[in-house]
């Protein structure tokens, strides 16, 4: 990172974060801090006044991404329910710019039904799933997005349940905007967030964010850095994937924009 960019980033931190809540509570190598910085840089680039924003998050490490760090209204709610709380707030005060940030366990497992129905209703909000493919906070149990064969504290011999593709789910439910990126592809992730912030309707971004403590350790990654870099190997851009022979995509995670429908019209 250039020195200039570092300075810029620091300014962003100060403007958007409550200093007294720092340092962030995440483990070394956790992707959730990068998700936070991507969100703030996207807001900065979009010119949105942080005072107009409401962040709603559930329970889990990911629920701590906005709360209480971001200098805006934040609501840290019960496990799985942030979208439902956010729906009430947004409907009553449509001027609020609402963003939900939560984990894969929170949004896809216990809160899966709210995700489906908010997408179906196309409620105007941005939902960011900080997807570490595991239950981080409770000690590394299997989640609905954990891959086949992955070792967790409840799948010692490897996960035998196929994972859920959240983007496909939300697309089928009717969301206006559906995209995926990772914390490794930071600029890409920021560009997706920026796009989502400027759209009306239900936007969903699946943001892969590694968990070295609970996931990396049990699945033979040498280091957090290696786990992060592995995201590069695992992912392929949608444009490239469209051109590639299907057999080569078997174990690939496709990143990019899957649905882009401006429901302003």
């Amino acid at each position: 990172m250039s020195e200039k960019k570092g300075k810029e980033m620091e300014a962003t931190w100060k403007k958007y974060l409550r200093k007294e809540t720092l340092p962030l509570p995440f483990c070394p190598g956790c992707g959730h801090g990068i998700v936070l910085s991507a969100i703030l840089r996207a807001i900065e680039a979009s010119g949105i006044d942080i005072k107009d924003m409401l962040f709603v998050s559930g329970i889990g490490c990911a629920g701590w991404i906005p709360s209480p760090h971001i200098r805006a209204d934040t609501m840290h709610v019960t496990h799985g329910r942030p979208i439902a709380f956010a729906t009430g707030a947004k409907l009553f005060n449509p001027r609020l710019k609402v963003m939900v940030v939560s984990g894969d366990g929170d949004l896809a497992s216990i809160g899966g039904n709210h995700l489906i129905h908010a997408a179906r209703r196309d409620i105007d909000m941005v939902v960011v799933c900080a997807n570490n493919e595991i239950y981080g906070m409770t000690g590394g149990q299997v989640s609905p997005t954990t891959g086949l064969g992955v070792k967790t504290t409840t799948t010692l011999a490897g996960n035998i349940e196929p994972p859920l593709d959240l983007c496909k789910l939300v697309e089928a439910a009717g969301a206006s905007y559906v995209a995926r990126s990772t914390v490794f592809h930071l600029e890409h992730l920021i560009s997706l967030l920026k796009r989502a912030l400027n759209l009306k309707g239900f936007s969903f971004i699946d943001a892969l964010s590694p968990c070295p403590t609970q996931y990396g350790r049990r699945n033979l990654y040498a280091s957090a850095a290696e786990q992060l870099k592995d995201l590069e190997k695992r992912c392929i851009l949608l444009q490239e994937a469209s051109a590639a022979p299907p057999e080569t995509l078997k174990d690939k995670v496709i990143i990019g924009e899957f649905v882009l429908r401006d429901s302003k019209q």
Binding site: T74, L91, R95, N113
Partner: protein, 378 residues
């Protein structure tokens, strides 16, 4: 002093079902957000508000389940609304975790529980006092809520308005405990020209989650007012910051959540007394059963029995002092359950307590209570 605001319906004598009266009362009380999920015998509240709320500039949404309904209500309250949901026992069970969230975040809101026979799906259209303990103890932790028990269609109206006012005064969820019989009973209901409304106590730049007084109720702001609200269901300090390892803060918060209700029982609790002076026997009753109890007491008095009625309009916080003050030698507690509130009566009563029950999903009739009274006297 609370301002009086002009009612939305022209004043007059209406002929309402309990559920209709409740929905209209919510509007009169300033409710502008309702989220709910259909369940007998409460659905008429949801149905009526689906068209009435838009008429008065409010927001209605049918959510995907009861968990989402109470969540949306709490979200809307923090966005500035007065808000309500309505359900029955099984739906209340689903709401309880988020009701705990409303309690710890001190979110004023109203939950109407139109009770039906249970457990579980039970008998969806039959009256029951099945949730008396569920509302008080159903969520986790240590807390107080307020629960009111209307006995007429008029009170489905009056107590729903009061529920909104109490919710604002104490920043607490308030329950209106109806039942299947009252929900669908039609009676005359007087709509007054003006109703007394308690507004939200607001302040900016202050702590929204604590005061130094043990029993204090802090003011609250809304989203979008530039306050940078920090709201969490975790234990938090006065500013809202999570303090999940601090024992002092845990203790201070829990004590205040309880004491802000318990040290104001004199302001909160309402009861009604009939013929209690010099009575040997007192009936303690609430809800629709109290109607049968009053008829029974009048009949028993015609037969020369010295008997009176204490009717509880407030169930929680429990009117302990009123029970303790009863001079009767025997206390009869009729309920549509195997004896729920009677346990509280037993806990504080100075007299022998007799529980009278009906659990077949039918309404309790005056004759049954008269029989019980005669038995007690002999």
């Amino acid at each position: 002093m609370s301002p009086k605001i002009k009612n939305l319906l022209p004043p007059g004598n209406y002929f309402f079902e309990g559920n209709q009266a409740c929905a209209e009362a919510a509007l009169a009380a300033g409710c502008r957000f309702f989220a709910g999920y259909p369940i007998s015998p409460s659905s008429e509240i949801l149905e009526r508000l689906s068209w009435r709320l838009p008429e008065v500039g409010g927001v209605f949404i049918q959510m995907e389940d009861e968990i989402a309904s109470i969540a949306a209500v709490i979200g809307a309250v923090w966005a500035g609304a007065k808000a309500m949901t309505a359900t029955s026992g099984p739906g209340l069970s689903l709401m309880l975790e988020n009701i705990g969230y409303a309690i710890i975040t001190e979110t004023p809101c109203v939950v109407v529980d139109v009770q039906r026979a249970g457990p579980s799906t039970g008998q969806a259209t039959r009256p029951y006092d099945g949730d008396i303990m569920q509302v008080k103890w159903g969520s986790s932790g240590d807390y107080q809520i307020i629960a009111l028990a209307p006995w007429s269609v008029q009170e489905m109206y009056d107590l729903t308005i009061q529920a909104f006012n109490l919710a604002e005064l104490y920043r607490v969820p308030v329950f209106v405990m109806g039942d299947a019989a009252l929900a669908h009973l039609r009676e005359s209901c007087r709509i007054p020209e003006e109703v007394e409304i308690v507004g939200r106590k607001k302040a900016s730049g202050v702590a929204h989650f604590g005061t130094d007084e043990l029993s204090g109720v802090p003011p609250m702001a809304s989203f979008g007012e530039g306050e940078g609200l920090i709201i969490t269901g975790s234990t938090h300090d006065a500013l809202g910051y999570r303090r999940t390892q601090d024992s002092d803060i845990q203790q201070k918060l829990v004590n205040r959540l309880n004491e802000k209700i318990l040290s104001n029982v004199g302001e909160i609790i309402e009861t009604e007394e009939y013929f209690l002076e010099g009575a040997d026997v007192a009936v303690v009753a609430y809800g629709i059963v109290a109607r049968a109890a009053l008829a029974a007491v009048k009949e028993a008095r015609l037969r020369g029995i010295k008997i009176g009625l204490l009717r509880l309009k407030t169930l929680w916080p429990f009117p302990e002092e009123k029970i303790r003050a009863l001079e009767a030698k025997k206390i009869v507690v009729p309920e549509l359950n195997r004896g729920q509130l009677v346990r509280e009566v037993e806990r504080v009563a100075q007299a022998e307590v007799i529980s009278v029950n009906r659990v077949d999903g039918e309404i309790m009739r005056p004759g049954e209570i008269v029989e019980a009274i005669k038995g007690v006297r002999d």
